[in-house]
Subunit: 107 residues, 2 copies
């Protein structure tokens, strides 16, 4: 498993693109893309769809990777235990269930 930054770098190189080239496609300038690939900045969420399309990959999957990365980094930074993920998943299911009961569109 690699970080989202390294994921971008890997896929970019597979395509044989420079940072500037990929940057033009996903609307991110070169210095910023460099930082993103090195996990010093994060890609803005609204660029993720564009990125998935550019890489010809499934949006849902790329999006999941994007958030997984953010979650993992926060969990590490704040010294969470491993079961934070299990708890999160349960909470997630709970919210989904609660909101699928017509009309309740909280959170």
């Amino acid at each position: 498993m690699i970080s989202f930054g390294k994921f971008i770098k890997t896929e970019r190189e597979k395509k044989g693109w420079s940072q500037t080239e990929l940057g033009a496609l996903i609307k991110v300038n070169t210095p910023l893309l460099s930082r993103i690939e090195n996990d010093k900045k994060t890609l803005a969420f609204d660029k993720v769809k564009l990125l998935a399309d550019t890489f010809e990959m499934d949006y849902q999957q790329v999006k999941d990777l994007y958030f997984a990365d953010k979650t993992a980094k926060a969990a590490y930074k704040y010294k969470c235990s491993e079961n934070v993920f299990t708890v999160a998943e349960k909470q997630f299911e709970y919210i989904k269930a609660a909101n699928s009961i017509q009309g309740k569109l909280k959170f």
Copy 2:
């Protein structure tokens, strides 16, 4: 499984405290605590330790709940799939392993 807001409300009522009373203990004013309990605002992270102490609960556990809640809400909001949590956990383990190799303190 309940939200972090409802968790606070539940524990507060167990102790028989008003929002103002608990608020004084954890340094949060009443209107803000109301919003927090109703999941309209989030508790600042630096108050979590104080909250755990006040409730006489394990900090690690409360902290995990705090981040689980944030994660779950983001995952729901951005329509992630359920396996975002599994991916996140793998990523988490990867980061931990990478950083346990002396000196590497990235992320």
